[in-house]
């Protein structure tokens, strides 16, 4: 399993800077927003957390369709399916590798973009923390979508359509936790804990569903 983790990490880092593309996309999305809503710094500071969250959501959807596609193309997916280790565990490890390669750079890039958005320190810290807790959930639930669409010739767009509705709760609680941290009366902890709980829930549902879908679409 460690070997699989290392292999996936190496592949995603070396194959054309996959991680950097995600971060670049994230920065581009965030950079486009001020052109749309105008350079009003107060407005940007207010909607900044939401923009960062939406950008991170879109950026982590971007690479999801490649999660199982490359394995299917070179045939190693069949080897993974035939292994003695449970497929759920394999999928789980693959998700973690995918998150380390694409999700974690987004979290690291978030504070810098927060500065661009004129957010204050608490908002930046809260956004980074919630992104750290929330992006794995998007990866896990996205793995289910990627596994469902793996057999399709052009599944990329379909993955996004299928996964986005499922990722809505993560977005809602992530953003509401950030706003709870900024605005005084609302407590930060409850939405954040629900976000963590969603993360754990999707960590169970996502790999199980993805493993089932992979098995069904392979035979």
């Amino acid at each position: 399993m460690i070997a699989l983790l290392a292999r996936d990490l190496k592949l995603s880092v070396r194959a054309g800077g996959g991680a950097l593309i995600g971060v670049l996309f994230f920065m581009t999305v965030v950079a486009v927003i001020p052109f749309g809503v105008g350079p009003d710094l107060n407005l940007l500071a207010r909607i900044g957390p939401a923009i960062l969250w939406i950008g991170a959501l879109l950026a982590s959807l971007l690479g999801l369709d490649r999660l199982f596609q490359a394995e299917r193309e070179d045939g190693s997916l069949d080897l993974l399916l035939m292994q003695e280790t449970p497929l759920v565990l394999t999928v789980f490890v693959k998700c973690i590798a995918h998150w380390l390669a694409t999700g974690l750079p987004l979290v690291i890039a978030a504070p810098l973009l927060g500065l661009f958005m004129n957010m204050d320190e608490t908002a930046i810290a809260a956004t980074t923390l919630t992104l750290l807790a929330g992006t794995p959930a998007i990866t896990f639930i996205g793995a289910a979508g990627a596994a469902i669409a793996v057999a399709l010739p052009r599944g990329g767009l379909l993955v996004s359509i299928l996964v986005l509705p499922l990722a809505i709760p993560v977005l809602i609680f992530g953003v509401s936790a950030v706003y709870a941290a900024i605005q005084e009366p609302a407590p930060f902890l409850p939405p954040f804990l629900i976000l963590v709980a969603l993360n754990l829930l999707f960590a169970v549902i996502g790999p199980v569903a993805a493993a089932a879908a992979l098995r069904l679409s392979s035979d």
Binding site: I141, A144, G145, I148, A149, A151, L152, G155, L158, I161, L162, L164, P165, L166, I168, P169, I172, F173, S176, L198, I205, A209, A212, A213, L216, S217
Partner: protein, 256 residues
């Protein structure tokens, strides 16, 4: 095949598509007739009851809107049960049922959304509010469309059915989360503006036509559903026959 073998004794006997088709042929005219009668009664009641003293005539939109919204949710439940049937019992008609239910559910959801916004314009003064219930129904609509797109994208019907069954079940887990999360996310907007049926919040004057319409909508759903299932079975048979014919034609061409 002798005639008595078509008798249906157990639920699993329905697994034979021929038996199912025979049952459908008997049942559907009755279901359709009953649906029409109930719709006639329900619409008559809906248009003859007094209007609400605050909402006036627009309250009649409720008689279409509320049943459609219920059906939108029930249809997803039917799809989830069918998905379980596909994955657990490998019931051969379950995937037909799930596939046939998706467009119907999308239509009911669309009807609920459209009538809701027609009702919202005079009542709330706006076509659309990002209210908890509206948002979750809209997400449900998106999920139906994604499901239909997934089914269309795959060529092999049995594989498409299994894979979309997984998606349906994941979505079924997610629907309560979406529903409640949006309620926590945006509670200040319209707390109890959508009328609910918990007992005395609605008077018997409105309740009677509403219930009749709800039963009529449910029967309409089942009529459409079994007819759609019948069409799907026939479509698959025709596809198989065509494939056989094409293969036979190819063989003759080789021989000539």
């Amino acid at each position: 095949m002798s005639e008595p073998s078509l008798a249906i004794r157990k639920f699993s006997d329905l697994a034979n598509p021929t038996r199912f088709l025979a049952l459908v042929a008997i049942v559907w005219p009755w279901l359709a007739g009953l649906t029409l009668c109930l719709f006639a009664v329900g619409l008559y009641l809906a248009f003859t009851t007094v209007g609400d003293y605050q909402q006036g005539e627009t309250v009649r939109i409720m008689y279409v809107h509320v049943p459609a919204a219920w059906l939108a949710m029930m249809c997803y439940t039917v799809m989830a049960l069918s998905a379980l049937g596909t994955l657990v019992w490998r019931h051969p008609l379950a995937d037909v049922s799930a596939k046939a239910a998706a467009p119907i559910g999308a239509c009911f959801t669309l009807v609920a959304l459209i009538t809701g916004s027609l009702w919202g314009k005079p009542m709330w003064g706006t076509w659309w509010v990002w209210d908890a219930r509206l948002t979750s129904v809209f997400v449900l609509f998106l999920m139906y469309l994604g499901m239909i797109a997934l089914n269309r994208a795959m060529d092999d019907p049995t594989r498409a059915a299994k894979v979309s069954a997984v998606l349906i079940l994941v979505g079924f887990v997610n629907i309560p989360i979406i529903k409640f999360s949006v309620e926590w996310w945006n509670t200040l907007h319209q707390p109890a503006s959508v009328i609910r049926l918990d007992g005395p919040t609605i008077s018997a004057e409105f309740l009677r036509p509403l219930l009749v319409m709800a039963i009529a909508f449910t029967l309409l759903f089942f009529t459409l559903h079994i007819l759609a299932m019948r069409n799907e079975i026939l479509r698959r048979r025709i596809a198989v026959l065509r494939r056989h014919a094409a293969r036979a034609a190819g063989r003759e061409g080789d021989a000539a």
